[in-house]
């Protein structure tokens, strides 16, 4: 059956696949650069509370049928008029820079502020009562994160990413070869780059901030991407034993063709729970699920279209026979 050749030959479309991926990578790099150059952001991604530090207060107003309309300006005005209790460890914070968001038809109010002490936070919530009316205390969520913790989180994320890259590279070099490891990491970088690129653009265009869950998502995408690539590589290696007479290109085509169904099924079954999270899950996990869905789709793409085709080109091209004797 293998002699008739696979119906789908990935190498026929490799230039198209490479252009698509290069285009997406360039677009992502552009997004990251623009975000970095943007004076309002000053970083490749718009960092959220988890990274910058500060206090985020989420309040739920209790209103009967519909909540009265409140303009963010009204709240900003109320904030300016507040005087918070001073504390020796915390300088009296400047509330002018507060970011105010009204959600769920004015039902939920989200405030992003500089770091406040618990007493100051309470004073602020009490002080806003006049504008907001009665609040549902059970719906209040207050998060305060010191700036040092954000830096610590960022460093920890980068360190664990680098360590897991190294670990994976060592494992693949050991089980396969250094070329496979290089290609797996290349794909991984490709997947992570495109996912972060998307969020850079989202940050630029709609002000979306990345939180620590985004870092978790990136790490997962990295693991998943390698998993996908390894499955295809495993098949290529098997084909190199079974079809030693054929060119590398043909072996790769064959391996990709037989794993294509599996890749499609797996991506689909992984996306199903994530889509469920996007559509039914709480708001807390919405962007997390988006990041994972995008990353896993891109990872699936790169494991089919990028890693195998690059392997075919790098490991000798079409005319060179396999070095291992049949």
């Amino acid at each position: 059956m293998a002699l008739t050749g696979p119906l789908f030959r990935i190498n026929r479309y490799r230039r198209l696949a490479w252009s698509v991926s290069s285009g997406l990578c360039l677009l992502s790099l552009l997004g990251l650069t623009l975000s970095w150059l943007n004076p309002a952001i000053g970083a490749p991604l718009r960092p959220g509370l988890d990274f910058t530090g500060g206090t985020q207060i989420q309040l739920q107003r209790s209103c009967e049928a519909a909540c009265s309309t409140i303009e963010p300006d009204q709240l900003a005005q109320a904030l300016r008029e507040l005087s918070l209790p001073a504390e020796d460890s915390v300088r009296s914070p400047n509330l002018d820079s507060a970011a105010i968001q009204l959600l769920d038809e004015n039902r939920t109010v989200v405030l992003r502020l500089p770091v406040l002490s618990p007493a100051q936070t309470q004073a602020l919530i009490d002080g806003l009562g006049g504008v907001l009316g009665p609040l549902q205390t059970s719906g209040t969520e207050v998060n305060t994160i010191g700036p040092s913790l954000g830096r610590q989180l960022l460093n920890a994320s980068i360190a664990s990413l680098l360590v897991s890259f190294t670990g994976i590279a060592l494992y693949i070099s050991f089980r396969y070869s250094r070329l496979y490891a290089f290609l797996a990491l290349l794909c991984l970088a490709h997947d992570v780059l495109i996912t972060t690129g998307l969020f850079a653009w989202l940050g630029l265009l709609s002000g979306l901030q990345v939180d620590s869950l985004f870092a978790v998502a990136l790490l997962t995408v990295a693991g998943y991407s390698v998993n996908d690539t390894v499955v295809v590589f495993d098949r290529i290696r098997e084909r190199q034993r079974d079809l030693a007479a054929l060119s590398v290109e043909d072996q790769v085509d064959d391996a990709v063709a037989v794993t294509l169904t599996r890749s499609a099924y797996t991506t689909l079954t992984t996306l199903l729970p994530l889509l469920a999270l996007i559509f039914f899950g709480g708001s807390t996990l919405f962007w997390f699920a988006i990041a994972l869905s995008v990353g896993i789709s891109v990872g699936s793409w790169s494991s089919i279209a990028i890693a195998p085709t690059l392997l075919a080109v790098i490991s000798g091209g079409p005319a060179v026979p396999e070095r291992s004797p049949g």
Binding site: M1, Q60, S89, S117, P118, A119, T121, Q122, Q136, T137, G139, T140, E141, V142, N143, T144, I145, G146, L149, Q152, L153, A156, S157, A159, S160, V163, S164, I168, Y171, S212, L213, A215, V216, L219, T220, G223, Y224, V226, N227, V230, V231, D234, E238, R262, Y265, T269, T270, L272, P273, L274, A276, L277, F280, G281, G282, T284, L285, F288, A289, L292
Partner: protein, 501 residues
């Protein structure tokens, strides 16, 4: 065909055990799921200490633990995080202001001299204190107790730890305190002890010296005779103040009180020989026939009381209970509906093995939850995300196997042979994929912060279990089914059109 049945029995037993575990150990939900407050405290290096050591962190934890218990929040936990941080969790607590205030303030450790002319009153109170402490320690069954005083040699040994009820009642009456009807002995003793301590502290002069000037506290075994001494080391200013303080009471019979947060933790006498210059040199030792454990406790209290390292609150997270409940409900619905869709997909695409995979995956979910309850893993939102993702990997393992089985069938192999070949061929890619994910998990767990750790733990458990279910549960269920001839039809695996003629 005894082997698949044997495996099947094992799987069944595991499933029953898992269900029993789930029934008897409740799942622990994180604060983001059930509401509450969480504070992260950074222990800051100060003075001569440039790096926070393990024992300093523990000393701070011990002091703060006692203060947190004083807050009266049920199930509050205080644990160390990394080298220099503490994590305080207060389930159900919506207002962390009080906790923050209590934690933020440095414990007040004071050295106070007894006021002149109060010797007699003190002599009345101290035996009560000793007795109450000893009995209370015995009642609570704890090994630790407050250290005995520095009693001069020759004094009677302390009485056996018992407190007859009429004596206790008389003591309470004489102190002018009343206890509610039906209070247990321990409660009465606590009331008594509080009152005695309050009175003892009232007999002291204002603090001449505070823990600020205490540089070190240690303990050492006595060179002559059994027991331990607790040593103190002051900075220069503290040493001078301590010398003046001890000079005033040396040989007078008045005591030196060590007061922590308004509670007298130790009363020491100062010998006549120090009347000239006091205990000078900035170092002193409390000689009190301490047991090793008592000495350690006092040492930690002294060191912690002086809180050589200030604490800063670097993170406060508060989640309202309805918000938490909402998150649980939504994530649960999402997880279940996602799994239901996956189940439908598997049955439609893979037919009979798809059904087997769905059973295997249901068991997989059960095993996962049982392990969360057993370890126990505190479930947080990222943890649930890790679980959902590991389900994806478990499904992938089944997909890989069944696709291989289909391929073998299409080549014209027999059913049983195709199943065996399918499993063994899929194994290496499943192993590689799972191991690489495990490597990532290890990196995330080792280097990540709390949130990331929760994710890594559930993902790692899921990946390990997935290896087990895909290779054992799915396989033995399938082989068990294949013992029934009526099920041994290739068309239950692949559409007839794809089979070779």
């Amino acid at each position: 065909m005894a082997r698949p049945q044997g495996w099947f029995a094992l799987i069944l037993a595991l499933a029953i055990a898992a269900a029993a575990v789930l029934a008897s150990f409740p799942l622990q939900l994180g604060l983001d799921l059930r509401g509450g407050s969480q504070l992260t405290l950074q222990v800051m290096p100060a003075g001569a200490i440039t790096r926070v050591e393990r024992e300093q962190l523990e000393a701070v934890q011990l002091v703060l633990d006692r203060r947190v218990n004083g807050l009266g929040v049920a199930e509050s936990t205080l644990q160390t995080v990394g080298d220099d941080q503490l994590l305080l969790q207060l389930p159900g607590e919506q207002d962390p202001t009080r906790a923050a205030k209590v934690l933020g303030s440095t414990a007040l450790l004071e050295f106070r001299a007894q006021r002149p002319g109060t010797e007699q009153e003190m002599q009345g109170l101290l035996p009560l204190k000793r007795q109450a402490e000893a009995v209370l320690a015995r009642l609570e069954g704890r090994g630790r107790q407050d250290p005995a005083p520095a009693s001069p040699p020759g004094q009677e040994p302390p009485p056996a730890p018992a407190f007859p009820s009429e004596e206790l009642g008389a003591a309470l009456t004489s102190l002018g305190v009343s206890v509610p009807e039906g209070a247990s002995e321990a409660e009465q003793l606590t009331v008594l002890l509080d009152e005695v301590n309050r009175r003892v502290v009232a007999l002291y002069e204002p603090a001449a010296l505070t823990g600020k000037d205490l540089v070190t506290a240690g303990r050492q075994q006595r060179t002559n005779g059994p027991g331990w001494d607790v040593t103190l080391g002051f900075n220069q200013q503290g040493g001078e103040a301590f010398a003046r303080l001890t000079q005033t009471i040396a040989g007078s019979g008045r005591l030196l009180g060590i007061v922590l947060d308004g509670r007298s933790i130790s009363e020491a006498s100062v010998g006549q020989e120090f009347a000239a210059a006091g205990i000078a040199g900035g170092a002193a030792s409390i000689t009190g026939n301490f047991s090793a454990e008592e000495a350690r406790d006092l040492e930690v209290q002294l060191r912690g009381g002086s809180l050589p390292l200030p604490v800063r609150i670097i993170e406060v997270r508060t989640v309202g209970p309805t918000l938490g409940a909402e998150n649980v409900r939504r994530s649960l619905i999402a997880a279940l509906s996602g799994l239901a869709m996956v189940a439908v997909f598997m049955v439609v695409v893979f037919r009979l093995p798809g059904v087997v995979a769905v059973i295997a995956l249901a068991l997989y979910a059960l095993f996962n939850l049982a392990i969360y309850a057993l370890i126990p893993v505190t479930l947080t939102l990222p943890g649930i995300a890790g679980f959902i993702l590991s389900v994806g990997m478990a499904v992938d393992a089944n997909v890989l196997i069944f696709e291989r089985v289909k391929e073998e069938l299409r080549r014209g192999n027999t059913l049983i042979r195709s199943i065996d070949t399918g499993f063994s061929l899929a194994f290496s890619s499943i192993l590689d994929g799972h191991l690489t994910t495990l490597i990532s998990c290890a990196a995330l767990f080792g280097l990540g912060t709390g949130l990331v750790k929760g994710f890594a733990v559930t993902l790692a458990i899921g990946v390990l279990l997935s290896l087990f279910t895909a290779l054992t549960v799915t396989r033995s269920l399938l082989r068990l089914l294949m013992t029934y001839p009526s099920l041994r039809r290739p068309t239950y695996f692949v559409p007839a059109g794809q089979l070779p003629a």
